[in-house]
């Protein structure tokens, strides 16, 4: 069995992002970049399946600038086998990401495509579902548990509003992962060294036959309204009085 894991390069979640003064976007110059945390969980899960013996090969795929090879090497150090970098300096919107991944799926023919449920920059939560539509695969979104079963089925427990729901999907399937699926490991030094020798294949949207066609234009990015600090109340009586409970 083969798993394809999509990886996005985003501003590190510990960075306190700032809106650019001209309101055209977020300040990303000299900002630390990292693997999207949800994608990291997807890589971890794929590697765990491999370690358990239920998966033979884990392939990472990333769409981004050439610097994204840093994130792919980090993913390979988790234990993934090889990686594909689709190089572009353009902004790639969810639908185009799904179209590019669709091409990779057609080439690689994975049994499962694992993705993070959303990226922590654009917060779209769309790519996995769109890829499932284009490939006509079933989808298990927001997974907190994944179990392979026979024949050719995967059981996915999803985190939904109000609790958990379990679905059975026929393979091949697209699964997007939620935070509580696992806690990603820290790569060990030997594995980091090993990752340096693993293969990263370079390609581009054009050579895959996808011409990017962004449908959304960002007109403005602004800071949210700032809440002002309020008043101090002395005791419970005053609080109840203010709130008119």
């Amino acid at each position: 069995m083969k798993i394809l894991v999509a990886v996005k390069r985003v501003v590190d979640h510990k960075v306190n992002v700032r809106v650019k003064a001209d309101e055209t976007g977020i300040e990303t110059a000299n900002v630390k970049m990292a693997i999207n945390p949800f994608c990291e969980i997807a890589i971890e899960q794929a590697v765990r399946f491999k370690e358990q013996g239920s998966v033979d090969e884990v392939v990472l795929v990333c769409i981004g600038p050439k610097e994204a090879d840093v994130q792919l090497r980090a993913g390979l150090a988790f234990g993934a086998d090889r990686a594909i970098l689709i190089r572009t300096d353009e902004e790639v919107q969810s639908l185009d990401v799904a179209k590019i991944l669709h091409k990779i799926v057609q080439e690689e023919l994975p049994d499962v495509v694992l993705l993070g449920k959303q990226a922590i920059d654009t917060d779209n939560n769309q790519t996995g579902q769109m890829l499932a539509a284009l490939t006509n695969m079933p989808q298990g979104t927001f997974a907190s548990n994944i179990v392979f079963s026979v024949p050719n089925t995967v059981k996915v427990t999803r985190e939904v509003d109000g609790g958990l729901v379990t679905l059975a999907l026929s393979l091949p399937a697209v699964i997007t992962v939620d935070l509580r699926l696992n806690i990603p490991r820290y790569a060990s030094l030997p594995n980091i060294m090993k990752a340096k020798r693993k293969v990263i294949t370079m390609t581009s949207p054009v050579s895959l036959g996808v011409s990017l066609s962004p449908r959304l234009t960002t007109l403005k990015v602004e800071s949210p309204p700032v809440r002002q600090a309020g008043v101090k109340v002395a005791d419970v009586a005053e609080l109840v009085d203010k709130l008119q409970l």
Binding site: N125, Q129, D161, T166, L245
Partner: protein
């Protein structure tokens, strides 16, 4: 032209989020000349939902797909249904064999876990973008939405002919429902859609839903949350007691969830639920930026914490610097007397 609103329901009643989506749809309609609002109800044995929807003012039509395959909402079945409705740009009323020509400009639903599941799938089938979690309508093609977990607000414009949207329901006030029983002629007309085949690709196995008599976290008017300051799971009983007195929902910070005090479906913040109640009471929560991102839409925020430097006080409207283990019992006692 028409806007297609996909209803949130549990096969018995329409959920509150639908009424917020109706408000968002009405705001879009203001920017389009001659448009109608159509409500799509996909379910199984959902007659009571349809009956409830017939009393909604402003709707021109209700489309119903009442079929066993929709007992649980599966994206693999819902997306082709919506796609065919929109792609054919019309639909057939079985009984009267009347074919309505409709052009849908927008497909809109709430950004709950169900809408987030099928809307991108619908958009990809239509080869259009999807816009997630809109918090305001600027025009028929321009919307505001939070990015970076609400640390920035983006204004985005779509160039697609059909806009596929999900709405952050807490950002829109709920539209009203006509409560009196309407005469048949003033009820919203209902169109039954033809049955469709199951995709055969996915199947519902089981649901483990949290049982609670309290209001749902994302729609409650009052939310009381506990943080690491609660110290243990047993102390959350204090919050439950208070919540029941105020008809409030109970939430928690990530720290409280990670410490195992409460289940993770109570988590509020960047990686949990986003809430925007009339009143938010943060008890023993320091106010990490990830938590604050999930509560900034609240009308009034109250913080109770014994640390006067806690960052939660920077965003709270009313700040009480005190020991929560003294404050909570006192508050419970005061409210009991008022009852």
């Amino acid at each position: 032209m028409a806007i297609l609103i996909v209803a949130d329901h549990d096969n018995h009643t329409l959920q509150a989020a639908t009424f917020s989506v109706l408000t968002a749809a009405s705001e879009i309609a203001k920017h389009i000349r001659d448009t109608e609002l159509h409500l799509l109800i996909i379910g199984d044995e959902c007659q009571s939902v349809v009956a409830m929807a017939q009393g909604i003012t402003g709707l021109s039509k209700i489309l119903v797909s009442d079929h066993q395959i929709h007992q649980y909402p599966l994206a693999e079945n819902i997306a082709p249904l919506i796609f065919s409705l929109v792609q054919e740009q019309g639909h057939c009323n079985d009984e009267n064999r009347v074919f309505d020509k409709v052009e849908y400009s927008h497909i809109i639903t709430s950004a709950g876990t169900t809408g987030k599941d099928y809307q991108p799938r619908v958009a990809a089938l239509l080869d259009v973008a999807q816009i997630s979690d809109i918090i305001s309508v600027e025009s028929a093609d321009t919307f505001k939405r939070p990015i970076y977990a609400g640390k920035a607000i983006a204004t985005v414009q779509s160039s697609d002919a059909i806009k596929v949207l999900t709405v952050r329901s807490s950002a829109f006030t709920a539209a009203s429902l006509t409560t009196e029983l309407l005469a048949i002629e003033s009820q919203v007309p209902v169109v039954a859609l033809a049955a469709q085949a199951d995709s055969g690709k996915s199947a519902f196995i089981k649901a483990e839903l949290t049982q609670s008599s309290r209001p749902e976290l994302t729609t409650a008017k009052i939310v009381i949350s506990g943080g690491r300051g609660m110290q243990n799971a047993d102390n959350f009983e204090l919050l439950y007691t208070l919540a029941d007195q105020l008809n409030a929902a109970v939430g928690a910070s990530r720290a409280a969830v990670d410490a195992g005090f409460v289940a993770n479906d109570l988590q509020i913040g960047q990686t949990g639920k986003i809430v925007a109640p009339e009143l938010y009471i943060a008890v023993g929560i320091s106010g990490a930026i990830q938590h604050v991102a999930g509560i900034t839409g609240s009308k009034v925020i109250v913080a109770i914490n014994n640390d006067p430097d806690a960052p939660i006080f920077d965003v709270a409207d009313y700040c009480l610097v005190a020991d929560l283990f003294e404050v909570l019992p006192e508050l419970i006692a005061v409210l009991k007397v008022k009852d």
